[in-house]
Amino acid sequence: MQTVHSPDFKRNATRAMADAGLQKALGTAKGAFLQRRAVAVANLPEFEQLRNIGRDIKNHTLANLDFYLETFAANVERAGGKVHWCSTAEEARETVLEICRSVGAKTVTKGKSMISEELGINDHLEHHGITPVETDLGEYILQLRQETPSHIIAPAFHLNREDWEADFRRLHTHLPKDRVFNERADIVAEARSTLRDKFLAADVGITGANFLIAETGSSVIVTNEGNGDLTQTLPKVHIALASIEKMVPTLEDACNMLRLLARSATGQDFSVYTTFSTGVRRQEDLDGPEQYHVVLVDNGRTNMLGTEFQEMLRCIRCAACMNHCPVYGAVGGHAYGWVYPGPMGSVLTPSLVGIDKTGLLPNASTFCGKCESVCPVKIPLPKLMRHWREREFERHLTPPTQRTNLAIWAYFAKRPALYRLATRLGIGALHLLARGRGAFASLPLAGGWTKGRDLPAPQGQTFMAAYAKAQRNKRGA
C-alpha cells in the first residue's frame, strides 16, 4: 500500500501554507467547484430528497452486503467475466499482476482509480517489468511528475497551468522545443495526441468502478474525458478494481446515485460518459475486451461494519466534502499524507491504516459542519471525526499536555458552580488586561495560538451570566 505520511501532517500543513504555487492553485480552484455545485443543486428541486434516498439505498446495501456481493459475482460470471475476491492489498496486487502476465502484457493503460492508488498497483506492475500508463489528464501529469493525487476527483488540483507547460516541455521530448502553448486547450490537445498511441498499443486496461450493480453484474465508471472508456474498450483485457462498498442492488438504485454524484462532484448535471460494463464482448460484437475481470477488494472495509464508522462506507467519492472544507482549502491534499484527503479521508484513513499513525487527521477540523451539509449520502463526518478523537484519547495516543489540559477542563466541567466561578474570574481578568483593545497580539501561555493569529478579547461577562441576565430582564418586563 501507499506509504502513510500522516504523522507529518503538521509539518506538511505548515509547508503547504508557505508554498506560493500551491496557494495560488488552491485559490484558483476553490471557487469553481463550489459555485458549479450550488447552481446544479439549485436547478434540481428534488436534490434533498434524492440525498435521503441515496443514504437509504447505501444503508440497505451495506446491511445485506454479503447477499449482494454473491449475486453480483454470479452475474459477472454469467456474462463471461471473472470475480477475484481479495482481502488484502497484497492479494489484489498479485491478482492484477497474474492477469497481466497471463496475456503477456507489456503496457497497461489505466483509468483514474483511487483504489488503485490505495493498493499501489502502478509500483507493483513497474517492479515486475510491466509499464502502467495513466490516461486521465490529471493522473497523467502526476505520473510524469512522480507525484500522488492531491484530490480524489481532480488529481492535479495543486498544479497551475505553468506547471503543466513546463512538465510537458521537459518530458514530451518527441515534440518541437519551441512550440507555443497559447491556451489550456493546447495542453489538452498535446496530451490527447501523445496518449492516443498508448491506448491503441495497450494489452490490458485497468479502471476503477464508481458503482457495482448486483442485478446485472455490471461495473460503472463515470468520466468526462473518455479515457476510461478507451481503457476498457480497446485492449483485449479489462480489469475493474473495486472495493466492496461500491455495490448497489439495481440499475434504478444506480440511477439515483448518479443523479447525486456528478452534481456533488463537479457541479455537472451528468458527467459526459457514464458507462456500464457487463462481461466480455459478445460473439457478434465488433469491439470490446475478450476478458473481463473484477478485482473485489476488502482491505479493511469489513472491519468497519458494525462499528460507528460503518456510515463511512456509504461514501461515493464525490469530493464535495473536501471542496467545501476550509482546512483542505488551506493546506491542499498532500498534507494529509495518504490516499484520501479532506474530511472523508480524515475518517476513512484511520479506519484503513490505523489511528496510531493518523491521529492528527480527525483533529484537523474546525467542525464547521460544511462537509456533512454537502455530503450526497449524508455521512455525519464531524461526528465520525469526533469518534476518532475519542478512540485516540482512550488508547492514550493523545499528546501528554493535551491530556493534562483535557483532564483539568474535565475536572471543572464536572463541577458547574466551580466552572462558572473559574470562567467568570478568567474572563474578567482577560477583559481588564485587554483595556479596551479588541484582541491580544500575544499572551502568556497562549503563544501557540497568538503566533498565527490574534486572540479576541472577551467582553467581560460569561455566556451563562449574560443569558441569566437576559432571562431576568424578560421576567421583569
Partner: protein, 235 residues
C-alpha cells in the same frame, strides 16, 4: 479462501450469520422488481416539450443538434454539417439497418464504410438508441450494429436519433433496453457495454477550467428525425 473470508468478515461485522431464506427471498424480489425511486419533475413533460428539453440540454452541454423531417433527409444533413465544419465528407457508418436504409448515394460526394472505428477515422455516424431529456444524454448500448469505438475514437461523432426515442429519465431508457434487447450470452438484456453520453469529451483537470476535446470526440452532433407527430415543436 478470500471469498469466504470477506463474506464471513461482513457477517461478523453485522453480527449475524448468513441471511435466512425468507430475507434472501425478499432481496431477490427487490432485484426482480427493481423499484424506481423519485423521478425529477423537470422531464415529466408533454412530448413536444420533452423533446425540446432534450435538445436544449444537449446544447447546454456543448453538443449541437439539427432536426430533420424524415430519414431521407439524414444524408443531406450529415453532408451539410461536415461541410459547415470544414471536415472532409468521409465517415464510418454504424452497420445499423435503419442507417443503411437511408439514401446515402443521393449525395455522390460522401465517402463511407461500415464497421467499427479505427485509429485514423475522423468522423463516425452512430445510431442513437434513446435520448434522455432530463440531462440531454444519449444512451448507446453496444451491439454488432452499434460498435462502442464509434463513440470514442473519431474527432467528430454524429448520432442519428428518432424523436420517438426521447424519454424522460435514465430509468425510462433502461426500461426500453429491458424490453427491446435480448442478450444471448446471459439471457438478460445488458450488452457488454452501455454508454450514456452527455456532450463532447472534456477535461477540467487544468486549473478546474473546462476544455473540450479530451480523449473522446471533440464534437457531438445529433441529427434528430421528427418521426413523432406529438413531439413536433408548436407552430
Amino acid at each position: 479462501m478470500s471469498k469466504e473470508a470477506i463474506l464471513n468478515g461482513i457477517r461478523r461485522g453485522l453480527k449475524r450469520g448468513p441471511l435466512p431464506a425468507d430475507q434472501q427471498a425478499m432481496l431477490a424480489g427487490r432485484l426482480a422488481s427493481h423499484p424506481r425511486h423519485l423521478q425529477p419533475q423537470r422531464a415529466q413533460l408533454p412530448r413536444a416539450e420533452q423533446v425540446a428539453l432534450f435538445l436544449r440540454n444537449v446544447e447546454k452541454e456543448f453538443g449541437t443538434v439539427e432536426r430533420v423531417a424524415g430519414p431521407e433527409a439524414v444524408p443531406g444533413a450529415v453532408a451539410d454539417y461536415l461541410a459547415a465544419q470544414n471536415l472532409a465528407p468521409k465517415f464510418v457508418l454504424a452497420p445499423n439497418p435503419e442507417l443503411w436504409a437511408m439514401p446515402w448515394n443521393e449525395r455522390p460526394m460522401l465517402e463511407f464504410r461500415s464497421g467499427r472505428a479505427e485509429a485514423g477515422d475522423l468522423v463516425s455516424v452512430q445510431h442513437g438508441f434513446v435520448g434522455v431529456a432530463e440531462t440531454g444524454t444519449l444512451m448507446l448500448p453496444a451491439a454488432a450494429h452499434r460498435p462502442t469505438t464509434l463513440n470514442l475514437l473519431p474527432d467528430t461523432e454524429i448520432v442519428v436519433l428518432k424523436a420517438s426515442r426521447v424519454v424522460a429519465g435514465y430509468e425510462d431508457a433502461f426500461d426500453r433496453l429491458r424490453a427491446e434487447n435480448a442478450d444471448a450470452l446471459t439471457g438478460g438484456f445488458m450488452p457488454r457495454n452501455v454508454m450514456f453520453v452527455t456532450g463532447p469529451s472534456r477535461s477540467a483537470d487544468i486549473e478546474q477550467t473546462l476544455e473540450l476535446g479530451a480523449h473522446g470526440p471533440r464534437r457531438l452532433h445529433i441529427v434528430l428525425i421528427d418521426d413523432d407527430p406529438s413531439a413536433l415543436p408548436a407552430g
